[in-house]
Structure formats: C-alpha cells, structure tokens
C-alpha cells in the first residue's frame, strides 16, 4: 500500500522533472527578474519604514515620545520598577494575547509552552500528515480550511494583542483632570479625590476607564459605571467584597484601603456617568 503510494509519488516527481526539462524556462533572467523586483520592493519598504520611524518621531533628539511607528527607544531599563507593562515585538503578540486568555493558574503552561510547542510540532509534521501528492487547491479541502483557520486565529490573536490596552500607574495620575472634565465632575472634590485613588490603586490593571487601563480577567469598563445608579452604599459593599455582590467575580477585596477611601472611590464611580 504504502509502497504503491511511494511509487506514485516518485512517478509524479519524474514527470515533473521531465516537464520542466521540456517546457521550463531558464531561471535567469525570466524568473530572477521577478525576484529582483520583489527584493527591490523589500529593501525600499525597509528603508521607508526606517525613515517613517525616525521622521514622525516628535522632536528630533533624545526623546522617548512615540512616532507613527512607536518610540525610537523607551526609558532606560529599570529592574526595580513597580509601574511598567512590557510588550513584545508585534510578531509575538499572538503569544502575548494567549497569555491573557489563559487566566487560570492551572492553564498557564498551555499558553506559555503548550500551544506554541504543539503548533511547532504540527508544522514540522505537516509533510508526514498530508501524504497525498495532490496539489490542486480544490482537491485539498481539509488542508486549505485548516490553513485558513490558522491564519485567521493568528490574525485575530495578533490584532487583539496589538489593540490590548495597558495601564501605566505613573502616567495615569496625570489623566485625572482630563477624566473629570470629560465626565463632568470637576467641581466634585470627593469624586476627583476618588479618581486619583482609582488611578493609583491598581484598578486600571484590569478595568478600562475613558480609554486608559488594561483589559484583564474580563473586568468591565467603568467609564459609565455611575449611569447604572447602583448607589454609593452598593459600591462600597462591592469594593469590600466583590464576590459577595457579584458571585464568581475575580476582583480582589479593596477593604484594606479603609472606609474613608472606599467612600471616595464609590463617589467617584457613581459620578462617572459616561464620557460627554
């Protein structure tokens, strides 16, 4: 059986060699012309990206502000930092996002090693899984569908990774006045104090508020939390014990902040009626 298939595959390859010999074209210059054009495009694109990277960066010297293609460089490495969120280069975004999907301790290994290793092994094994010599696309439905699914899932993961938000504690405090303006509670001292507390208490590690913050553990966006009119008492009780009010909630208790601060936070949440 197997040898029959092997004989067939060998025959097809011999046929291929005969066909190429008979009606093939010389690589140079016919095929190589295309190759050269394509390589020229590649080099131009690379230089173009470098130029755009440099010249869209605001201020030409000693800046860590991002241009269209991101920063020229970030602040120097600080192994002792307590407010930084790392991000890989874009081609690791799929892995970056996989790690966010596997948000249970039991499944960490799947996201870090499991799925990438399985994918790599499947890739290596592909020629031994797909043994038929058929190459026409319409006759390879399984392979083509599998390929499309892989491309779509990689694309979606990369896109989600690229658009995933993150919180930087040090920057967030500076956003408070902008939030207050947008949400219209600038005059409410308690709410502004609550907003400052909100910015420094790690809430934005998971929640999104007015475009700031990360999206972890499936936490809801809080921009218009006050519009639900749950009441300050509910908010305080929820902050003290989220899973009591909302069974299954992964949010930790914030009781440790003390009643006065919880009241400020609750006031802030109830004042957040949505961006105007």
């Amino acid at each position: 059986m197997a040898s029959e298939r092997l004989t067939e595959r060998r025959r097809v390859y011999q046929q291929y060699k005969a066909d190429v010999k008979e009606r093939g074209k010389p690589f140079f210059p016919y095929a190589m012309w295309h190759d050269t054009i394509m390589s020229l495009v590649v080099v131009v694109v690379i230089i173009g990206l470098a130029v755009v990277w440099k010249y869209t960066t605001p201020g030409n010297h000693h800046t860590t502000d991002p241009g269209w293609l991101g920063k020229l460089y970030d602040n120097p490495a600080d192994p002792g930092t307590i407010n930084f969120v790392p991000r890989p280069d874009w081609y690791y975004y799929f892995l970056f996002y996989l790690l966010r999907i596997f948000k249970w301790p039991e499944s960490v290994l799947l996201g870090t090693i499991g799925i990438p290793t399985i994918a790599l092994l499947l890739l290596i094994a592909l020629p031994f899984i797909d043994l038929r010599s058929e190459r026409r696309i319409s006759r390879r439905p399984v392979a083509i569908i599998a390929g499309i699914l892989v491309v779509i899932s990689m694309g979606v993961l990369t896109f989600k990774g690229a658009t995933a938000k993150e919180a930087l504690g040090s920057e967030l405090l500076g956003h408070v006045s902008a939030w207050a303006k947008k949400e219209g509670y600038t005059g409410n001292q308690a709410a502004v104090k609550g907003a400052k507390l909100f910015a420094v208490s790690g809430c934005l590690n998971c929640h999104v508020y007015n475009g700031d913050g990360g999206q972890n553990l499936g936490a809801p966006e809080l921009t218009a939390e006050g519009a639900k009119n749950k009441g300050i008492a509910f908010q305080i009780a929820h902050l003290k014990c989220p899973s009591c009010k909302n069974p299954g909630s992964p949010m930790p208790s914030f009781a440790g902040l003390g009643d006065d601060r919880l009241k400020l936070l609750a006031t802030f949440l109830e004042s957040s009626k949505g961006s105007k």
């Binding site: 097809v12 394509m38 080099v43 990277w53 592909l126």
Partner: protein, 265 residues
C-alpha cells in the same frame, strides 16, 4: 586560427572577460556551478508568489549587513548599552537609518517568512520529495523568531528588559528542563550583568550562523529538487502523464515566450 587577422575590439573585450572566468573555472569549477544555478530550468508558469523566498533572503542579507555595522558602535554592557543606542540613533551619521533598517528589517523578515511559508502551504510544495526542505524552513522560522527574541533585549530599555523577563520566564515554564533553560539563557537566577552580552552573542553569532547554514541547505535543496508550478496552472509541471492534447503546441512555450504568461501579472 593563426592565419586570421587581428581580432576586433569586441573580440578583444570578450577575450578580456573570458580569460579570468576561464582561469577561475579551470581551477574551481565555480563558474560552471553559477551558470548551472542561473540557467537551470524552472517551470514556465512560476509567478510572483514564488518570489517570496528570495525576498526573505534579501531581508536576511539586509539584517546581516546592518547588524554587522551596528555591532561596530553597540556596546553590550548594561552600563553602556542604552547610551550606545542613543548615540547610534542621535549622533552617528545615518545611525538612525541603519538601526531603523535593522529594527524594521526584522519585522519584514518575519512577515516574509510567514508569507513564504503560506505560499508553500498553498501550493502543496511541501510534498514529496520536498519534505526535508519544509522542515528546514520551519527551523528557519523558529530561529528567526529566536533572533527577534534575543535582539529585543539589546536596546536595554524598559520595554526590552521587561519583555525579556517575561520571555525568559515563559521558557522557564517548560516542563522538566524549563528552569534550566531559563537559567542558562539568563546566565544566572536573575537577569544579571552577563545576560546582555550572552543574548548579544546568541543574537549575532550563534543563531545567525545557524540560519546562514540552513539557508544554504534550503537553497541547495530548492536547486536540486526544483520549483513547483502553481497548482492551478493548466500546464503545471508534473500534473500527470503527458495527456494534455495541447502538449505538442506548447512544448517550447516556456522558452519562446516565457515572460508573458498570464500568471506573470
């Protein structure tokens, strides 16, 4: 021969070109090898999709060249790395361009590897007898990603430092060997003063050497086994016994009008 008149200027020129070529050929056979590479037959219907492999190679060459030049200015030491990156980017003539080309060439290289792999998959070009070349290609992809990982640390800024922490710890979660792998990569329990130069050596010597060797093997196999026709091509090479009725008519079409194929859009 001896009785002929003086050779014309053109003949003289031809002679002047041929002499060194013949000299090299007689002593090495290299000219014949290059001629074989250039004038070997490929199917008449190869198309633009099949330029992705050579484009990837071009991107690799860009990386190799810009990387070597960057190595002249970059200092792989935690105390100096960041300032040398600033120096390259802001002070050195065209430093930003070379660094930018290396930075973005990496992305282009990786995109092209994925696209090239997609093309090979779509064309079914990983099938007999090209299985080994597919495997070499997958190894090249893995090594390219390894280059991306090790190179990301080199600017020694916040992003690169902490992304590398996470990356090393991802390796560390591998069953059984993970802790050893992570500690080997770091050269210690934590990222320390030697980690950067370790990554640098891996990034610019170990992996590129392996990639260059595998690319050589990859190309050798491409030349030995030939390039596949697009699977949808009516005159795809190797589609079966010569049963096409038009076979006689198109027998030499690949040589007579190779550039105007409909696939050559």
């Amino acid at each position: 021969m001896a009785t002929r008149t003086k050779p014309t200027r053109g003949q003289q020129l031809q002679e002047a070109i041929n002499y060194p070529l013949d000299w090299v050929e007689e002593r090495s056979g290299l000219v014949g090898g290059i001629k074989y590479f250039l004038f070997r037959k490929v199917p008449g219907d190869v198309n633009w999709f099949q330029t992705l492999g050579s484009a990837t190679f071009t991107a690799f060459l860009v990386q190799a060249l810009t990387g070597v030049i960057l190595a002249m200015y970059y200092k792989p030491d935690p105390k100096d790395a960041y300032s040398s990156i600033q120096h390259i980017t802001n002070d050195i003539f065209a430093g930003w361009l070379v660094r930018g080309m290396h930075r973005w060439g990496a992305s282009v290289f990786i995109i092209l590897m994925f696209m090239h792999m997609g093309r090979v998959f779509l064309f079914g070009a990983y099938k007999f007898p090209r299985e080994l070349n597919w495997i070499i290609g997958v190894l090249l992809l893995a090594m390219g990603l390894g280059e991306g990982f090790t190179g990301y640390l080199l600017p020694w800024d916040q992003t690169s430092y902490w992304a590398t922490v996470v990356g090393i710890n991802i390796n560390g979660t591998a069953p059984f060997l993970g802790p050893f792998l992570a500690q080997f990569l770091q050269g210690g329990t934590y990222i320390n003063a030697d980690t950067l130069s370790r990554f640098y050596a891996i990034h610019m010597l170990m992996i590129p050497g392996a990639i260059a060797a595998l690319i050589g093997l990859h190309m050798y196999l491409v030349i030995r086994l030939g390039v596949t026709s697009p699977p949808w091509s009516k005159e795809a090479a190797g589609t079966g016994p010569l049963e096409q009725p038009s076979q006689n008519g198109t027998a030499r079409s690949g040589l007579t009008r190779p550039g105007t194929r409909k696939d050559g859009r």
